[in-house]
């Protein structure tokens, strides 16, 4: 690990005062320290935000929830309001990592965790995300866990998170404090960036911008689920996953909010899939047509070709359950 200086600010305002290209906030540290040990990340200053007062979950005036960026994944999953009204979020969190990791991993850190692409983790290999301009070893290499949607010629990495997929299905808003002292509200739909030819830039955050909260809108009616398909039954990243909230009225699908993990560089959502379902009587044909819309532009890179049929079957299975 490269050495660094360490700061422990007493307030969010002080925290965003430490801007600099080599500065990183550290929250739970479960992703950043992992990458620092491998010298994938080499910050020269760590700003320890773990003791800031951002670990509360509060009710909002419009019936939603305001989640502090430092709420641990365990506590968010176990919160009774989340368990009762945002089941998809509890389920997504509980499907991720392990009991020990969830106790440390934070809401903000989880949103910003980096890809698990094998080559990104190996500084001996070319990787545009780690070393811009060096090439992409995953194209033509091992890419079983990598993207089938939203990739570019520069990078085919996936966002590996589970919680962010549920947050995207729930239309969450990310609230930040900029180094200039401004509050920003960023819809999760606008938060992540496609790789294009700058895969090292993953979100719209400015350097030194701090996530302070994530806000969820009021809960919606209907059934919710999170289904994660992975190589072993526990403690593994998703191959594909579905976060779904669907309601049925008078035999027709009334509302549908669907987001997908394991498909692309960000938790994926496609309004055309939802439009194809709303107003329709649930049937396997309708579900398959929606899946075909989702996957119309999907492209496999060899070892991840299987994700295309796997995603289609998984979505159909989820929609059966959500409309049953």
């Amino acid at each position: 690990m490269k050495t660094f200086t360490y700061e422990k600010p007493a307030s969010v305002e002080e925290a965003v005062g430490f801007v600099g290209a080599g500065t990183r906030f550290i929250a739970g540290g479960t992703n950043l320290l992992d990458l620092m040990k491998l010298q994938v990340e080499t910050p020269d200053k760590l700003v320890d935000i773990s003791r800031l007062d951002l670990a509360k979950i509060e009710d909002t005036d419009n019936g939603g929830l305001l989640i502090g960026a430092l709420v641990p994944n365990s506590d968010l999953a176990a919160d009774t309001r989340v368990r009762e009204k945002y089941e998809v979020l509890s389920r997504a969190l509980l499907a991720g990592a392990s009991g020990q990791l969830r106790n440390k991993a934070t809401t903000g850190g989880n949103l910003l965790q980096r890809t698990r692409c094998y080559y990104f983790y190996d500084p001996a290999m070319a990787c545009n995300k780690r070393t811009p301009g060096s090439g992409c070893s995953a194209i033509g290499g091992y890419n079983r866990i990598l993207a089938i949607l939203g990739a570019s010629d520069s990078c085919i990495a996936t966002h590996p998170g589970d919680m962010p997929v549920a947050m995207r299905a729930l239309d969450a808003t990310i609230i930040t404090l900029t180094p200039g002292g401004d509050r920003r509200r960023i819809s999760i739909h606008d938060f992540y960036r496609l790789p294009g030819d700058t895969p090292e830039i993953e979100t719209v955050l400015e350097p030194g911008e701090l996530i302070t909260h994530v806000e969820l809108p009021a809960p919606v009616a209907g059934k919710q689920l999170y289904r994660k398909v992975r190589d072993r039954a526990s403690y593994a990243f998703a191959l594909v996953s579905v976060a779904g909230l669907v309601s049925v009225e008078n035999g027709k699908i009334a509302t549908a909010q669907l987001a997908f993990g394991g498909l692309g560089p960000m938790p994926w959502r496609d309004s055309r899939v939802e439009e194809a379902l709303i107003g329709m009587a649930p049937s396997d044909e309708v579900f398959a047509a929606a899946a075909d819309i989702l996957l119309a532009d999907a492209q496999g890179y060899g070892s991840n070709d299987f994700k295309i049929p796997l995603m289609k079957r998984t979505l159909i299975a989820c929609l059966r359950e959500l409309t049953a």
Partner: protein
Amino acid sequence: MHFTINGTAYTAEPDIRTSLLDLLREHLGLTGSKKGCDHGQCGACTVLVNGRRINSCLSLAVMHQDDEITTIEGLGTPEDLHPLQAAFVKHDGYQCGYCTPGQICSAVGMLDEVKKGWPSHVSETLGDVEFNDGEISERMSGNLCRCAAYPNIVDAIRDVAEAKA
């Protein structure tokens, strides 16, 4: 830097990069916690921080100066074993024993999570949690055992959970 570990105050001046695990093992001589992977993947380094189980390899020592840290050395002594230590002995919950301190610390934290009513990935509902062997396996999935002593580990944990209930 000042630390409280197993109720005892320690002072050490480790390099800023030192993980909590390396602080325990290399600086304070508390070698009960083990290093398997050093990347959060195996659970051998599990300790309790303010009563919660975490992977000490993925945490910086400097970030724990105000915390109460409990390691396997703080749970029981050879003369007076912690109930989980005694149950691991009784059920042969190990072969080489390398993962065992992490398994036991993890199980202590896990049973406390169950007591608080936290659900898991395999819980049928997110309401009242029913405790069974499937729950034990899922909740302990962050602790790998190279010797695959898993059935006996589950027996040991079940014993203690039932005795507590």
